[in-house]
Symmetry: none
Subunit: 218 residues, 4 copies
């Protein structure tokens, strides 16, 4: 049985190395301009081999999305469960901002994928993994907000799901602007501090979910 296990392990390693290569290529050229040939060359593998590990280009795309997402999820988990809901949300937002700053290309790739319509077909091998990640992340975030509404660190009348979507979707939209800062700056009539954009967005969110001040200090 050692042989089968070693094989499986080797297979996983090889798969991971292909994703590594694909990430480098996708980040360099964008997912659209990247070809399977580019990925094969970068992975020092033949093109045919790629198809032994990934059903098609979209499946490879999905695997990259999973990676990015799992980084987010890990950060969200690392925040822990001891603080107040408000504090946890603050730290999650901060953690994600740091994560995005560290891997902006990941974000770019994911955005391109989202904006082009989430083409992953449910029968792609990586689909289940991806689904599990989203579910985990969303569940975690919703739980944080729910806790906040209960422990009094957030307004009680918030709809947790809506708040999570505001955090998630809004951040995505702002990152879309930040990642295209050059193109946008050229079109803005007034200067904009792009580096401050996401932090100030988090600030605004937090201010909006905070309980009314007059209720804070009776």
């Amino acid at each position: 049985m050692g042989v089968a296990e070693r094989r499986e392990r080797e297979r996983e390693q090889r798969r991971a190395r292909i994703i590594d290569a694909a990430e480098r290529v996708f980040f360099r050229l964008g997912p659209l301009a990247s070809t399977m040939d580019d990925v094969a060359v970068e992975a020092e593998l033949s093109k045919g081999t790629l198809y032994l590990y990934f059903k098609n280009k979209d499946d490879l795309y999905l695997a990259i999305a999973c990676r990015g997402l799992s980084r987010f999820v890990e950060r969200a988990k690392a925040v822990g469960d001891t603080d107040s809901g408000y504090e946890q949300l603050r730290r999650v937002l901060e953690a994600q901002h740091r994560s995005a700053l560290a891997h902006p290309e990941h974000l770019k790739t994911m955005l391109a994928w989202m904006a082009s319509g989430f083409t992953a077909s449910p029968d792609a091998p990586g689909y289940d993994e991806y689904l599990a990640l989203v579910t985990t992340l969303m569940g975690r975030l919703v739980a944080i907000v729910e806790r906040g509404t209960r422990d009094g660190s957030m307004r009680a009348d918030l709809d947790p799901v809506q708040v999570v979507m505001h955090c998630w979707g809004g951040s995505m939209g702002l990152w879309m602007l930040v990642l295209n800062r050059d193109a946008i700056a050229a079109r803005m009539p007034v200067p904009c501090d792009f580096d401050a954009l996401v932090p100030s967005y988090a600030e605004m969110i937090l201010r909006a979910v905070a309980p009314r001040p007059d209720k804070e200090a009776p």
Copy 2:
């Protein structure tokens, strides 16, 4: 002189009809999967004719973006300049939401374009028009927030440009979620009211820019 005028008018009409057709195709297939052949068939024109009116596919893309944007701009202008800054912002957000609801396909196309990196080259014929629209819109929005900070209807410590970007970018991001509601809903562990997403986002923004209640009622 009537002839030249009529020609010019007919040319504009034909151009508009091509954009109509392109919109339908782009919305049906997505801008990436759409081909110039598809557009030609939809417009009941030969492919060569397309190139009489648009330099290339990107230029056609840009024309669609311009159209969507100009709808936004018109709505923003229609809000008028008589109310308080806060009230104007509220109405602009509301107007844009209605606009987006009426033409979601536009938004989808624009998002795909933004996420793939704003490829418009400055020498495309429609570029200047596009630029002017963005500048107008951004200028208008910034002016509204500036007014709000001065007339006391918004917090005085707001950075108007940041607020505008939060409105703009955040809405985009949320619309990205709404437009992919089916794909996302399948991945959400808890149900989400997608129709409420953008309105509740506007509400949150407005709440965040409003002056502190304890300063409102001294």
Copy 3:
């Protein structure tokens, strides 16, 4: 009848102006890269109008060839008929060299046409004119050599037609090299004086057709 004549004259002028424009375009871009659109713009005429004066692009090509050829013919005629055959040949070669130096683009265009296989169809409107020119030129040159063989200024055993073809074809070939001097120079292991090429060729021809020296000076 004055009206018809004026019309005919105007038609000729318009035709000539189109050829002017076509020459400029062909010389600038080469006959292959030149489009009927380019010619129409250069002629400040609509594309459709071009087809009122020329059956198709080849016919326009032919008209340009005629122009170049008629210049040659005029130079050949201007040499006169008073000198010895040898002297006339010398002066014709010299005249053609000067003509080619003055209008190298013409030569280039004609060469491209010849090398791509003389595509003129006999039913093109300008075909007869072109044919007449070639006939005239060849007849003139052959007559010169024939005279030379009879008046003792050339070797008596020459075949006049062969000599004319050597002059004509050989010059063409050498001009082909001269016109591509840059490309060729880059490929030559030894330097070459391209300016001397055609004159030295004429010299060689003349030396070869000259009577044996021992017969010159008895």
Copy 4:
């Protein structure tokens, strides 16, 4: 190691077969009218496969030119180095004439290429090979004439490079006429023996480079 070698050999064979097919097509239709589709059909290969072996149409063109040129070079080398310069030149000219007679289509293709301006870009894969061939050929011919001027079998005052260019360029020009014999014959006022054209040209060249008879027989 046998596998890699076999692959390489097969690759060369396939490449050669594509050039075969391209030659047939180019000769039938002319290089301009020939399309990559035509070549693919003739080679019984898919269009995509062509691009695995040749970067683009020009590269395929270049490969054909190389082939024709290498035949010339081989003939020039086969002449050997034992005779007088004059005799070597005579035999080279003769050899090239036979070569051209055997493969006129090659000549036609090369002429079309030359006349359209030597478009080969230096980064085409076959460019170096082509360059080496031209350099070899030119060097060989110049060496022959130099030898002739030194060994007394040619006039001492000849410029070897000029003579070589006369041979090369002049022959090209005459072949251009021969290859278009039908079109030209229809335009000639007097009959012309096209088959004799190149041999009689070689004769003329040889006569012109030969030393003066009165110096030969003192």
